[in-house]
């Protein structure tokens, strides 16, 4: 096996590679936008799912808070948009901010029990949320349309004039809107995960006590992660409302949706940045493909369900860490990313008593780095 090609982060070959990948992605989007309308629509739903799963990834993947209630955030985002547009005549785009804010707040509150409850027990809390959402929608039917559902009329969802899309180009508009939103979410995830806050999340997941002993506010991390996670999935909900334009409590926002998100997350690769995107493709296209494998004899339709289950199991057998996890291990054999070099004195070769030679950084006199709060 040939030795892997080594790339160092932050050097120009690495930047060039990133640039090339970004350009390729943009080209792929351009090409895709020219496909048949229903294909464009299908991709739009993939992007929306990818955003929703990214939200879940934050809580479940990076922070280890298993949630089976994210269908509720998806629904809350969708219904906020739906209600504001239909009942209060808001512009659809303007509903995103309040919807995301609302989901953040609700997520934060749902995160509160996470301060005491852990693991599968916490999953029960989120289960309760997932079960409650459709019931609450039905309960407040004056606002939400209740069991009847809430239909957003097509003309209310026309692209805004500044976008350059005509009133008939709703599909194109939503495609680009979702693509841009997904790009923004992925960038946000990338920055967050590599930041101190991101480290604090993973540390909380890996060892709560040690994280706290290192000064991580475990409580704050959990509640705000739940909030942020809910907000991102809520954003996906808003887009979903614009995409489907027909909301009903029993249609798209039940526990089954949460299960779909989890499936996507694990198949794509939990705690990876691109996993949710791959997972979204999987949850949209695998059922689609297994359904079209279906023989024309309609009573055999159940076969697609069997196939879907089998495909899920197969993928996990081949790549237990998800597709992105598996692929990055494979690609690691070709190209290795080395972290950016930081200027530190290289220590001399380890020899007996060499410690005298390697200086300890920081210390009392390094005021710029010494900040100890309470003195």
């Amino acid at each position: 096996m040939p030795a892997p090609f080594v790339l160092t982060r932050g050097t120009w070959p690495h930047r060039l590679l990133l640039l090339a990948i970004a350009a390729l992605a943009a080209l792929a989007l351009l090409w895709a936008s020219g496909l048949a309308q229903f294909r464009v629509s299908q991709l739009t739903s993939v992007f929306i799912y990818a955003i929703a799963i990214s939200g879940l990834n934050l809580a479940t993947g990076y922070t280890g808070l298993l949630s089976i209630g994210h269908s509720a955030f998806f629904g809350l985002g969708a219904y906020t948009t739906g209600v504001l547009v239909m009942r209060y005549n808001w512009d659809p785009l303007a509903t995103i901010a309040p919807a995301v804010a609302l989901c953040f707040a609700v997520g934060f509150v749902i995160g509160l029990p996470a301060l005491r409850i852990r693991g599968l027990y916490l999953a029960l809390v989120t289960l309760a949320v997932g079960v409650a959402f459709p019931e609450l929608v039905r309960r407040f039917s004056a606002l939400t349309g209740g069991a009847r559902g809430l239909v957003i009329r097509r003309r209310l969802l026309n692209p805004p004039a500044w976008s350059g899309f005509g009133p008939g180009e709703r599909t194109q508009w939503l495609f680009w809107l979702s693509a841009v939103a997904l790009g923004a979410v992925l960038l946000l995830m990338h920055l967050l995960v590599r930041s101190r806050a991101g480290l604090a999340m993973i540390a909380t997941r890996d060892n709560e006590i040690a994280a706290a002993a290192s000064g991580v506010r475990v409580a704050t991390v959990k509640t705000s992660v739940f909030g942020l996670s809910g907000a991102v999935t809520g954003l996906a909900g808003c887009l979903f409302a614009m995409y489907l334009a027909a909301l009903s409590p029993d249609g798209s926002f039940t526990l089954l949706k949460s299960i779909e998100f989890i499936t996507g997350l694990v198949i794509g690769g939990a705690a990876t940045r691109l996993g949710p995107v791959v997972g979204a493709f999987a949850v949209v296209y695998i059922p689609y493909l297994t359904a079209s494998l279906n023989p024309s004899n309609v009573s055999q339709g159940q076969l697609s369900g069997v196939l879907f289950g089998v495909v899920l199991i197969l993928i996990i057998f081949l790549m237990p860490d998800g597709v992105v996890g598996g692929l990055s291990r494979l690609s690691g054999r070709l190209v290795q990313l080395r972290p950016a070099r930081v200027n530190t004195p290289t220590p001399p070769a380890p020899e007996e008593n060499n410690h005298e030679a390697s200086p300890l950084p920081g210390g009392r006199d390094d005021r710029d780095l010494t900040a100890r709060g309470v003195q």
Binding site: I202, A203, S214, N353, R372, Q375
Partner: protein
């Protein structure tokens, strides 16, 4: 005589029927390395856990640099300048050694990049530069114990609590570790409380040693005196030292 940085007084804690700490008191002076020895189950780790607020004592006070530590929540302890290592390792397995160390610096101000650079420096000093980018999971035990130390150092503590840092090291490695701890003390002007069963290390670097048994203090004084103490020999050192 200078005033103590750490002042533990009459701390008691029990779990069900087990009294783990039974009115222990001890002080650590500024710049001092204080050894804490005692048989297994004496309550040494439990005392660390009380100081770092993982446990809440039933009675007693713990003061650090004038502050009442028992009134400080768990995650703020390190802000007060107290960092620790864990006897049985409590690292973040999926994070790299470098990232583990950076988490140690969580409460410090400064740019992420600068903190990383400094963490790399600490790792170099601890002979961990080679494994800086490897995930903690899968490293040998002795190495991981040093990662614990690196993480604690990254917080720039004024008091370092070391719970059996020499576990899994050879004699030569222990000797180096002893030298390193002393250097750390001098460089960062900190105090340390050291739990170790490796008597060579304790005798070699401690300025003063506290021996405990069944949650109580049984001896306190200069290392040689404590080593010669009969109760200590009987309860802890056994025939080997007697």
């Amino acid at each position: 005589m200078s005033v103590a940085v750490l002042d533990v007084r009459d701390v008691r804690i029990h779990f069900g029927g087990v009294t783990a700490l039974d009115g222990i008191s001890l002080t650590v002076d500024p710049g001092e390395i204080c050894g804490l020895i005692g048989p297994n189950g004496a309550g040494k780790t439990t005392l660390f856990n009380c100081i770092t607020r993982i446990y809440r004592p039933d009675a007693g006070t713990i003061r650090f640099g004038g502050a009442d530590l028992l009134a400080v929540p768990r995650h703020r302890i390190v802000r007060h300048g107290v960092a620790r290592t864990f006897q049985n390792l409590a690292l973040f397995p999926s994070l790299s050694v470098l990232e583990n160390t950076v988490v140690g610096a969580h409460v410090r101000r400064g740019r992420h990049r600068a903190l990383r650079a400094e963490a790399l420096g600490i790792l170099a000093a601890l002979d961990l530069a080679d494994v800086a980018h490897r995930p903690a999971q899968g490293l040998p035990f002795g190495t991981l114990k040093r990662v614990e130390l690196a993480r604690a150092l990254a917080a720039h503590p004024r008091l370092l609590l070391l719970d059996e840092p020499a576990g899994g090291l050879t004699h030569a490695e222990v000797r180096d570790l002893g030298a390193l701890i002393k250097r750390i003390r001098d460089r960062y002007e900190l105090s340390a409380l050291l739990v170790e069963h490796h008597m060579g290390l304790v005798m070699g670097i401690c300025d003063h040693v506290v021996a405990m048994d069944s949650g109580r203090k049984i001896a306190d004084g200069p290392p040689q005196d404590v080593q010669r103490d009969e109760t200590v020999a009987a309860a802890y050192l056994g025939r080997a030292a007697a």
